[in-house]
């Protein structure tokens, strides 16, 4: 599934202050591609992810995914679009505390037309022994793996990952990135990952650098590394 951004701008208005979080961005993410959006705090990468994924609407410009213009969609259509095509992973894991690992994954599976089995996905993320545990019984890395499993189980065409390793140490972060890489390769799922850590770019097909809401550089990575091989800055 490919994503196309044409002259996209997002402006926030706070009182009399106008903030251009994303400015005139033109970009294309190809089907099955692993893309890293890289930039420092305030560079607009989270805003970019939100509007690409339909969590927010751009102020101007056009966003289309496989020809479908999502920037014109209303909330109901966007929900349907997310349901059928997208998966999300956040830094904060966003798990439901009253549900077990398996049940949290089931929450994602329930909305999909062609889901994977919960067992299969849990095996992929290495959580089979933890199936009946609750989030509070898991480490941060394990919780993030549950979050990945919940996103993957619905068999999304694109995965959006917002600083998925931001709260983890190096070892756990690499584990998570390995899983994402494996899923990208196994299921040919497009992955859009945002991070402020330049090292992570080493495992991407392309690195899109952002600053002050603008795309400042696009690097095509011809020497993709495995997540475990990344040297953590």
């Amino acid at each position: 599934m490919s994503i196309k951004l044409e002259n996209v701008t997002k402006t926030y208005f706070t009182g009399e202050v106008e903030t251009h979080a994303v400015k005139n961005v033109d970009l294309e993410i190809k089907n099955g591609e692993f893309v890293v959006l890289l930039g420092p705090s305030g560079s607009g990468k989270s805003t970019m992810l939100n509007i690409i994924s339909g969590l927010d609407n751009p102020t101007s410009g056009k966003i289309s995914i496989d020809g479908e213009i999502i920037s014109d969609m209303n909330a109901k259509q966007l929900t349907k679009f997310r349901r059928d095509n997208l998966g999300f992973i956040f830094q904060q894991y966003n798990l439901l505390q009253t549900l077990s690992v398996k049940e949290n994954v089931e929450v994602g599976r329930e909305v999909s037309k062609l889901p994977f089995t919960v067992e299969e996905v849990l095996e992929q993320v290495g959580l089979t022994p933890q199936t009946t545990k609750y989030p509070f019984q898991l480490s941060g890395g394990e919780q993030q793996r549950v979050s990945i499993a919940r996103a993957v189980v619905k068999n999304p065409k694109i995965m959006f990952c917002d600083e998925p390793t931001g709260a983890l140490d190096e070892e756990m972060a690499k584990e998570i990135l390995s899983i994402l890489q494996k899923l990208n390769e196994t299921y040919k799922t497009s992955v859009v990952l945002i991070t402020h850590n330049p090292s992570i770019g080493a495992m991407a097909d392309r690195i899109i650098k952002l600053n002050s809401g603008e795309v400042v550089e696009i690097i095509v990575n011809k020497t993709k590394l495995n997540a475990s091989e990344i040297s953590w800055g």
């Binding site: 909330a75 109901k76 059928d84 956040f90 894991y93 439901l96 929450v107 994602g108 509070f136």
Partner: protein, 788 residues
Amino acid sequence: MLFRNVFRTLKKQYVQLLLLGLIITLSSFIYTTMDLGVGGIYAPTEAYFEEANQEKFAMKMMDMPLEVDSTYITTSCPLVAEIPFSISALKVIDEDCYYGVLNNRLNTITSEYDNIIVELRESKDVYFNLNGTSNKARILKDSVAINLSFFVEGEKPSTNNQIGITQAYAKNNNLVIGEILTLDDKDYTISGFVLFPDYSLAMFSDALIFDNDTQTMGLLTDEEFEHLNETVYFEIAGVYKEGYLDSDFKKDVIDDYRDNENLDFVTSTLLTINNMRSGAIYGEIEGGQKTALILSLLIASIALLIVGIMVSKVLQSQRGAIGILKSMGYTNLEITLPYIFFIAILSFPAIIMGYFLGVLGAEPMKNVYLTIYLLPSQPVAQTLETFTIAVVVPFVFLIVVSYLIIRRILNQKPVTLLNPPITSNANFLTKRMHGFLKRLKITSKLKHLLLYRNMVKFSAYIIGMFYAAFLILLSFSMIGVMDRMLYNYYDNTDYNYIGYCDYSQTCEVTGTQEKVIELPSAILNEEDIYLVGLSPDNELHKLLNKRDKEITNDLENGIIITTSLGLINGVKLGDSLMLQVGEESKEFKIVGVTEEYSGNRAYIDIEELSLLLTNTTTYSNAVYSQTKLSENDFLIVISTEDILQQASKMQSLFNIMIYVFIFASIAIGSIVVYILTVMTIEDNFYNISLFKVIGYNNKEIDKMILGGYLTYGIGTFLVTIPIAYGLFYLMTYYMAQFYGVLMPFRFELWHGLLSLVIFIILFYLGAYVAKRKLSKISLQEAMKMYQV
């Protein structure tokens, strides 16, 4: 700065805050208005009761001659050829003999119990017409020592054509001293306005009629009292000798008289404080103040519950900011102060407004009391005590509890506040319920599990819903109470007139008239009852059970009792009980219960009763008729139309009170449902957003989030129905036992359905408002507010 932040946060919740303010105002208003309203009556009433020597207790006696009475009549009353079936009838035959019998009874009582003084209390009831409306007067014979008449204006009647009536009745009917009132075709000049301390309510029977529009107490000269051609009723008024107390009386007399063979003629003994007619004002003063306090506390506690949830919700959303403040060195007190300040700023005006509205409402409330109670009064005055309880106590309570809630959250370390650790353990209920919900789809499972994650909030929701449901159901159950108490009986019977025949003769009937026996006093299971002998195939007085099925024919197999008799005396269908009529006793089985809520009445086959009374099957002492009976042919003629007209005024008064109660109950219940719904939906803000991000549509999210609350709300309403039903029965039962008066609450299917509809409408209204508010927050922002 901190103050501004808290102000802006609270400003967003203005609807809930306004409704909360309304509840707090209501709480303070209810207490103030009740307390001050009653206060305007309390002091002058106390002085009046003291001065008029109000009875401490009242005893009811059988109006049926017992063996000892019969012996006296036979030996000492040569004018009485045949002993009548009632002592009241004896007065018509031989007045001295009548007083002889009753004095003997009074002497027996004082010889059994040393510490009491008793006096006979006689009365006669007269129906009369005033401005085209049927009115009723209870004429009391003036007492000598106990329950002295008290004139608030004018003078005691000194001639036989003067009458004293109640001021409330005079006021309601625009009568003034010097005007004429016609009773039994005789004109009486109103000489003054009288009060009797044993009638603080103009309540002449066990039916809850005590309106002063169509009922008055009356005082004539003793001579004129005897001239009135009406049935005489009698009972005993009593006071204590020096130092004797209610508790002594209860131990010595109330617990004893039923087993005392010399006192078989005493059918009931009631302490004044338990006697609705004379002592309800005590209950009203003490009970009313207590009820008002409890009601006000109950409402305040609901308010507090909501404040607690709101404050903790606000604080949870501010925990990051609070964490920063704490890390900067702000003390807990400094952070707490703005919250406490705004809670105080919001609640104090609400409480004060409630108090002053209460002060304004106290005078009308006092007047409402005075439309019902026959008591002296004084202008309403504010008291420090009322102000303290209505304003200071709830305010301090609210502030202290809010402070404790805030402190509990603030006691966490800054780092915990800034980075909440993932420690939300699955609680006991979540774990237990997992087992039961195993087979359900995850979305259905979530419907339940999301509710269990916070037991305090879940409990608050359930308790709040129960409270709302009970209030709404209680108010519905009161609809038609008066109809059931008064009109059911007359709706089911077809006679319009009752003629009481001369005691010495058997009644004669013509046309569709029917003979009956009405005995004002008979003993059933050792309790005094009103016994009516009817033909099992009579046409004018059909007996219907609660299901509206006719059961008159069952009289052939036993006796039929009223619902009120069953409840008051604790007897039921199928019981076999001893019936004593005159000197005869026979066991009968209760074969039916009629749907009548007033009167300690029982029905028996007329031939059976006639046999017991006269050894013949043809005796009768009254006639039921659809057409008007001539006063010349009967000793007394009573029109049911008169009774119904007289009751209709009371019904209107009662209906107003009931509708006010219904309105207030539904309003409070609705506010509770609305606030709790809005708060619980808002509480699920994060979950709703998460589901939206995952791709759940609105319908699915509603099913998971709203569905759970709706299911449990409906469940609570449904569970409340049988609980309320049971409580209504208990309330009816204890009122019957305590006051001898029935309050027939009734649950009908539509009450449950309507209360559910009200709940569902309010729920969706609350949910709509909450969701509209939530939709203004972006999903990506919501995702950052990870709830652990």
